[in-house]
Amino acid sequence: MIQDYVMQTGINILLAWSVYIILLSGSLSFANGGFMAIGAYVSAVLTVKFGIPLILAAALAGAAAFLFGIVVAYPALRTRGLYLILVTVGITASIKVMIESIDYVGGIQGFTGMSGASPWHVVTLVLVVGAALWLISHSRLQRMLDAVREDELVAASLGINVVHLKVACFGAGAFIAAVAGSFYAHYLLFVRPEDFGILPSVFIVLYVVLGGMNNLWGPPVGATIMTLVPEFTRGLAQWRPTVFGILIVLLLLVRPDGLLPFRVPTERRLRNRPNNP
């Protein structure tokens, strides 16, 4: 039981971070459910049909999604705002329908035979990704990403290769979503295309928005709360989606910038200087 909580929470934290990484450069992606599907199916085929060990299969699946992410990012990131949201929704929808039509992986019936994912895999991954993001959050790279997010045009006029950064973030997000998807598939033992539709993509974004998208702690906080709160509202089990939906609506009304809305400066104040307001 506790294992299930750890597994679900860990995977959702990874997925939330996968959206957060893309958001670092200012793009909101609803394609991560699709990237997750690529990871789940590629790794499942590799372990089940080719007998490749899970860890290697997950890495390969991540690499496949990374390449896919980069290839679609070049055209997709020409759009912005709601247009980009629609394009990423379209990517997820297309991936789902394509998998449904591939008989090799069971089509609409789903694919099974995977096993072997343990909570330790996921906990380790959360720690690794978290450490990497923490490192970035205090770096010059974070500063450049913040600049891109604030004003792409000005960032470019300071010598920052905006397209390069945005595409790299998109690829990295796809990678993490796919690795999370790999472990998800090998933990659930059975996946269907409908596990990876638009609904999961929206939920991942909700974790990030509810937690706060301006610092790296927001997404895991959002993911943890959104994963565990429904689990512990057993009394309301029957009304879970309704309670959940109302909770989201209310949270957005009360804290539209998320639970942890602050941004962490990349360069701390020096102790010997007076603080400014």
């Binding site: 909101l28 759009t79 247009y83 629609l86 989201i248």
Partner: protein, 294 residues
Amino acid sequence: MLTEQIVNGIVMGSLYALIAQGYTLVFGVLDKLNFAHGEIFMFGGYVAVASVAMGASIPLALLLALLACGALGLAVELVSFRKFRSHDAHITAALSSFAFGLVLLDLVQKAWGTEPVAIELPHALRIASVEFLGVRFSVVKLAILVVALVLMFALHLAIARTRLGRSIRAVAESATSAALYGINVTRVIQIVFLLASAMAGVAGAALAIRTGFAANEVGFTLGLKALAIMAIGGMGDLRGAFLGGLLIGVFEALAFQWGFGQIADTGVWLFMIFVLLVRPTGLFAARASKEARA
């Protein structure tokens, strides 16, 4: 056979168009996506089922769906859009309306279950048909087509000719200057949500009547497809949404006829991505949309 498929496509396309009009109306005025729209459309079907079960006639059922969904639209506006009107808040509004749709979907499943619910239509009506140019057409389908076209034409006239329409266009152009001219922006936005949702409700009811049952997944399947169609037609472009709906409806019917229906589903999304990348103002647009201009 082919003619019949094309007619089927046009009927389905007119429903797509009806839903897409709602998305595009809201986008045109607010620059925001209403993700509850698909579920409101879905709810229209259940209103029709319930009305007919309680003895309402078909036209009355359509009217009730129109009213009930219109009211829901006002609720969505109040809960998910009123507070998030600034440009930066478009993600918040999209997610909030999405959550609203989830609640609506869950409540419908609680009330009617997760399986499709059949609608009790008189047998005579179900099989009624007319012959035209040697092809038989179902009366129900033709009636749906007529209702959808009349509604969209009425909307077009209302926007183009009436004072209300002028206010809507003014708010779409710029809410700030519309307010300076004494237009009650909030009222206009409410009316837009009312109109958009009412039309989606009629579309939902019409779909239930055409297929003979109300199903709760249509908000996600057809409702989202209409969103893609809206983008194909050009975001904020009513005429584009109309033409896009018919185009996709006929395209799907033909794809189905020729045996690649599955691919048609992906096709719509890929086509949407293509249009957004290459021609973000929409397939039929002559003028640039707001965001493309900025």
